[in-house]
Subunit: 360 residues, 2 copies
């Protein structure tokens, strides 16, 4: 007998919800069960356009979707300013929560959401999809191996994309009342996660924002950067922007290893992803070339990375539902660490680029 797939309800019809709906369709242990929008018509259209089965439930409000006892998981792609309200309510209704990033406007909000999930025994995970790509595991095998890579000394990450005039006027990501963290919350979230990932989730002791961030008239960040400092001398920098051509870089330097990836957020191609790695690189005798130059590692996948994320989430939910497992604490923990650094960068920008202690 086939296992019953985990039933997803989609809260709202954001553009990113199309990508994740497709992933739910393609995930072997997940199913599109319901969609809710403030407009029934919009929800209906969304379900028709995004592969929902004819039996799918269409709801004209978020509350109605949350009241459906057969929804296992709520996927929340709403603007950040709405997360607190709807995540807490979803958790109270015993729904597991897959939450788009940035997860919260600040860590205090996130703590309320995480607490609600803990109290109600539901899984929390943010939608940082590249974490689940098989390439990420391959890169971990290299950079977490001290024999090969040595100690990590510095990390640099970039996520930029050219928003364009319409985006910069109208997108929710530049509206103070919707996604008030702007490029820091959107693109910067990925950079900060990449840096924490490379540091095996050890928090930096201080964060010092770089000077000359770009803000719009409403004070929302359109481009900024930061440096990060760890107790052990490790450092990192990142740059996030809505104002430059697309770039998605992680560069990790260890004492004996180098890693480069240029499309870490979204692989350039859906079914292959690559990175460059080198270990113990040296000069030729006359310093006109190198030994042990970077080699390209190519990972081929059958499915887009969002499917791996959805499938992992459903696996966790299934073992909670069926086996009495507890929710996996890793996921809320790394969301929280990411948010702590987001908050510290914002605080450093606001305090004139002084270093900010990262509070735990």
């Amino acid at each position: 007998m086939a296992e019953t797939p985990i039933r997803f309800g989609i809260l709202g019809c954001a553009h990113i919800a199309q990508t994740v709906s497709r992933a739910i369709c393609l995930s072997p242990n997940s199913t599109l069960y319901a969609v809710g929008s403030r407009s029934f018509e919009k929800a209906k259209k969304f379900s028709e356009a995004n592969g929902f089965p004819p039996s799918a439930k269409i709801y004209g409000s978020y509350e109605a979707l949350l009241d459906d006892p057969d929804v296992d998981v709520v996927y929340v792609p709403l603007p950040t300013s709405l997360h607190l309200r709807w995540v807490v309510l979803a958790a109270e209704k015993k729904k597991h929560v897959l939450l788009e990033k940035p997860v919260a406007l600040n860590v205090a909000e996130l703590d309320e959401m995480i607490k609600a999930c803990e109290v109600n025994g539901v899984q929390f995970m943010d939608g940082t999809m590249w974490m689940h790509h098989p390439r990420t595991t391959k890169m971990e095998e290299i950079i977490y191996d001290p024999e090969r890579f040595g100690n990590i000394k510095t990390v640099h990450s970039i996520f930029s994309y050219g928003g364009g005039d319409d985006f910069l006027r109208n997108n929710i990501r530049v509206k103070p009342d919707l996604d008030g963290l702007g490029a820091l919350g959107d693109a910067g979230w990925y950079c900060i996660r990449a840096i924490l990932w490379a540091a095996e989730y050890e928090l930096p002791k201080t964060v010092t924002a770089l000077r000359e961030p770009v803000l719009n008239e409403a004070g929302v960040i359109l481009a900024c950067g930061s440096s990060l400092q760890w107790e052990d001398g490790k450092t990192a920098t990142f740059h996030c922007s809505f104002l430059a051509n697309l770039a998605m870089d992680i560069t990790v330097l260890g004492t004996t290893g180098t890693l480069h990836v240029h499309d870490f957020v979204i692989p350039h191609e859906e079914n292959t992803a690559s990175f460059l790695a080198a270990a113990k690189t040296g000069y030729w005798e006359l310093v006109t070339g190198m030994s042990a130059i970077p080699s390209q590692h190519v990972i081929t996948t059958d499915l887009p990375q969002e499917v791996y994320m959805v499938t992992e989430f459903s696996r966790l939910v299934k073992s909670i539902k069926d086996g009495g497992s507890k929710p996996e604490g890793k996921w809320p923990s790394i969301s929280r660490k990411t948010q702590l650094v987001v908050d510290a960068v914002k605080a450093s920008i606001e305090n004139g680029f002084e270093p900010v202690q990262v509070r735990v």
Copy 2:
């Protein structure tokens, strides 16, 4: 009748002088004419090991080499602390000067050297060899093209290599009395030049060093980083280090273009060099892939990049000698700008990471 090649005298027997001696041998308009060292025996051995013709002059002192009226060019690979004395003397003896970087301990010293070269009508150029690689011209065609690349928004550069225990104890680059600028003067010089190059040599208005540089017991920088800020909102960051595996990156982000190069200082292979460039990159509809992804550009060369540098230098010298041309002002100008930023980074480290105005 073949043109008389430009005659080079090598001042000292530094390791890098082997690379440049080979380049002079391979350069069609240049010849190895003399080598001078404080030890005649050392100079003799160097000439025998590095392709000098049997007729080459061997000198047991730097002064004697400078007194030889047939030396056209002096190549100076001495420790930085000796540059001022020997470059000024060489210029006074009417020798053109090809000077290893870092060119000076500070811009005041460099100004004395440049002035001596100006007064004596000799060409000054620093040995930043990658500037002369044909790849650099190809990259300029892309990043300097506003139709393709838009406006440059941010630049990031890394140059690190693992010095190793012996290097970190004994190399001149970590000795305060020899190369007191440490990793900033050595590896950082290249990063700063790369950033200025990308900015078409427009100086930043301010430089703000990143926190937590690593210094040795004598106070010499082993690793550091900085951010740079321009009037027009452009920004840059770099990281230079003797403490991490080899990496040589330039990343340039324009409003519509992206450029990546991973071996800008010394191409991984002597006869081919590549870079990645993209323009107007976009997402697929469901944001699971990209259009206009970076393409790899490969440049094949017959000669190592140092030969292009030497040949260009000899071409300039020849047109001064033969045609009454004036020395090319571009080269001392960009050396000076690089040194100004080096000095500003050092000043920012010393003043507690406050922004430092870059003085012109």
